[in-house]
């Protein structure tokens, strides 16, 4: 019997994926399993990041969700609608920006693209006009309103692709590599805008990216995938705690023997240069730092510089992948 908590949880779910499996049949070859029985959910108004190396199964999962790839097994539910049985109905509240800048019509102008995609989702121009204007302004595309999309820069094309997904007016948005190939400035603008969409716009977003900075910056929760399986599914902060390893860069005078140090601590990346030794040490607990300093003092090793390295998503990602047997 379902408890009230279960029902409340279900009502708050924008997306539920259960035991999703996708095996691609291959001509005269062994079938490839791209997604291997994964389950996860995304709450309404939440922004979740999909992280994983190439071939992890991120894009296949996203395409299964929006009905572009037929799953081999499993269930997908979007806002309470069975997306496998009733793809059309489920997709009517879903839009997507898929891989890079190939989501817009290059021969149509910026405005024509926006008008086309608004109407393609059944929205009249009267309904969408104010949003078109605000998107053009928000993304600095106003001056390029009448320019064909093919003449826009890569960054602008990507902004237009996102605008075209937004103008459909759906509550659920799938973004596959939305910042791929963008310069630092445009990538930052995109991140800021995507964050706003959930905080102000009430959208639910599932975002995949190779760029861990994007995921760390934008997402509340991260799903780490490798070889079709989910390795971790937790908030960015929780993941940071789980893999709570403190990293320090040390610069030592001369080329001291590090045998004792190497046995006791995890020392990596040792470099000898200009009579100095540079090394990276990872410590399980913060208190170990003082032990390490004492150890160096006892060995008469002179310390020139210490730098505390903040843990970022990239390290967490590598930890998760290594824990699960590494990237093949």
């Amino acid at each position: 019997m379902k408890t009230q908590d279960d029902l409340n949880k279900k009502a708050n779910n924008a997306l539920t994926v259960k035991d999703l499996e996708k095996t691609y049949p291959q001509w005269r070859k062994e079938p490839t399993k791209a997604v291997d029985g994964i389950s996860f959910s995304v709450d309404k108004g939440e922004i979740v990041g999909f992280l994983g190396p190439n071939g992890a199964g991120k894009t296949t999962t996203i395409k299964c969700i929006c009905g572009l790839v037929e799953p081999t097994r499993g269930k997908i539910n979007i806002f309470g609608i069975d997306a496998i049985k009733d793809t059309r109905k489920a997709v009517s509240n879903t839009s997507a920006v898929l891989e890079g800048n190939r989501n817009i019509y290059w021969r149509l102008t910026t405005r024509e693209n926006l008008e086309f995609f608004a109407r393609l989702h059944g929205r009249s121009l009267k309904e969408a006009e104010s949003e078109i204007k605000s998107l053009l302004e928000r993304f600095d595309l106003k001056d390029k309103e009448d320019a064909p999309a093919r003449k826009l820069s890569r960054g602008m094309q990507q902004k237009l692709a996102l605008s075209c997904a937004l103008i459909r007016g759906t509550d659920f948005l799938l973004l596959d590599e939305p910042t791929l190939g963008l310069d630092v400035k445009t990538s930052k603008e995109m991140r800021a805008f995507v964050k706003q969409l959930t905080s102000n716009g009430g959208k639910t977003i599932l975002l995949s990216s190779h760029d861990m900075n994007v995921v760390e910056d934008v997402c509340e929760r991260v799903i780490i995938m490798n070889e079709g399986k989910i390795l971790a599914n937790d908030s960015v902060n929780n993941l940071k705690d789980v893999f709570n390893v403190h990293l320090y860069d040390f610069v030592l005078e001369g080329e001291p023997k590090l045998s004792g140090l190497k046995e006791k601590y995890s020392v990596t990346d040792i470099q000898h240069n200009n009579g100095k030794t540079k090394l990276r040490v990872s410590l399980k607990e913060a208190d170990s730092f003082y032990e390490l300093i004492n150890h160096l003092q006892k060995k008469n090793v002179k310390l020139e510089e210490v730098k505390n390295l903040d843990k970022n998503m990239e390290e967490i990602f590598m930890n998760v992948i290594e824990r699960e047997g590494g990237v093949k």
């Binding site: 572009l68 790839v69 997507a96 086309f116 459909r168």
Partner: protein
């Protein structure tokens, strides 16, 4: 469901793209016109009869119409896949099959206007005048349904196999054979292949001056069964190929 807005968006986009390609379309038309003039004056130099000359005008205009209608379905789909926009067309409250049908509707309007203009130019340049009325338009529409069916088949195949251009070119030449088939044989095969029977009826209206009332129920039945059979088979194969493409994850590939 606001299907009329989706319909408008697809048709409008078709005409916008056409406008961007105006010069390209114009140059193609000039090339085809030169080819036609060569064929026409070639036939005249062999002292072909009036009926043959008039038949060449109708046949040529119908061939262009058929090739354009067919290309719209098969090449148009391939172009969307190449541009990476095909998957976006699946993300709609409507269905992709409906969207492609709306595009076909837009293209039919344009191609029919082109057909009329082209026919007019051909008649003036050759001095051979033919009748064009609402009945002819109806027959053209019905005849072309079989071609749209073939377009759906090739479009579906291109979703899965991608490189089907060679097949497209072969079909374009096959259309010539299908159009002239009724003039070279009385065999029943003309009832079963696409384009032939419909073109035969169009010829009789435009050249012999027959009206819609002059055809028998059997003749209409042959046309309707033939056209709808090809269209339904086309849609069936397209659906099958679409499902295969979704199973293999090929929709976004080119």
């Amino acid at each position: 469901m606001r299907e009329h807005i989706i319909f408008y968006s697809v048709v409008k986009k078709y005409f916008i793209e056409l406008k961007r390609y105006f010069l390209n379309t114009l140059m193609t038309m000039i090339g085809i016109f030169i080819l036609f003039m060569l064929v026409f004056f070639g036939l005249r130099s062999f002292e072909a009869g009036t009926e043959t000359l008039q038949g060449s005008i109708v046949g040529f205009a119908m061939w262009i119409f058929a090739v354009m209608a067919y290309s719209e379905m098969s090449w148009g789909l391939l172009q969307e896949a190449r541009d990476g926009t095909l998957e976006q067309l699946y993300l709609t409250p409507s269905t992709f099959r409906r969207i492609s049908a709306y595009r076909v509707f837009g293209s039919f309007i344009f191609q029919f206007l082109l057909f009329v203009v082209f026919l007019g130019i051909m008649m003036v340049s050759t001095g051979q005048y033919l009748s064009l009325n609402a009945g002819v338009i109806l027959l053209i529409g019905l005849t072309l349904l079989s071609i749209y069916g073939l377009g759906y088949i090739m479009g579906g195949l291109s979703l899965v196999f991608k490189k089907v251009q060679a097949g497209n070119q072969i079909l374009q030449f096959l259309f010539i054979l299908l159009l002239v088939l009724p003039t070279i044989t009385d065999h029943q095969v003309i009832y079963f292949v696409p384009l032939s029977w419909g073109n035969h009826m169009i010829n009789r209206m435009m050249i012999d001056g027959l009206s819609l009332l002059d055809f028998t129920l059997v003749e209409y039945s042959i046309l309707l069964v033939n056209s709808f059979a090809y269209l339904i088979i086309g849609l069936f194969i397209f659906t099958l190929m679409e499902r295969t493409a979704k199973k293999r994850g090929l929709l976004g590939h080119y």
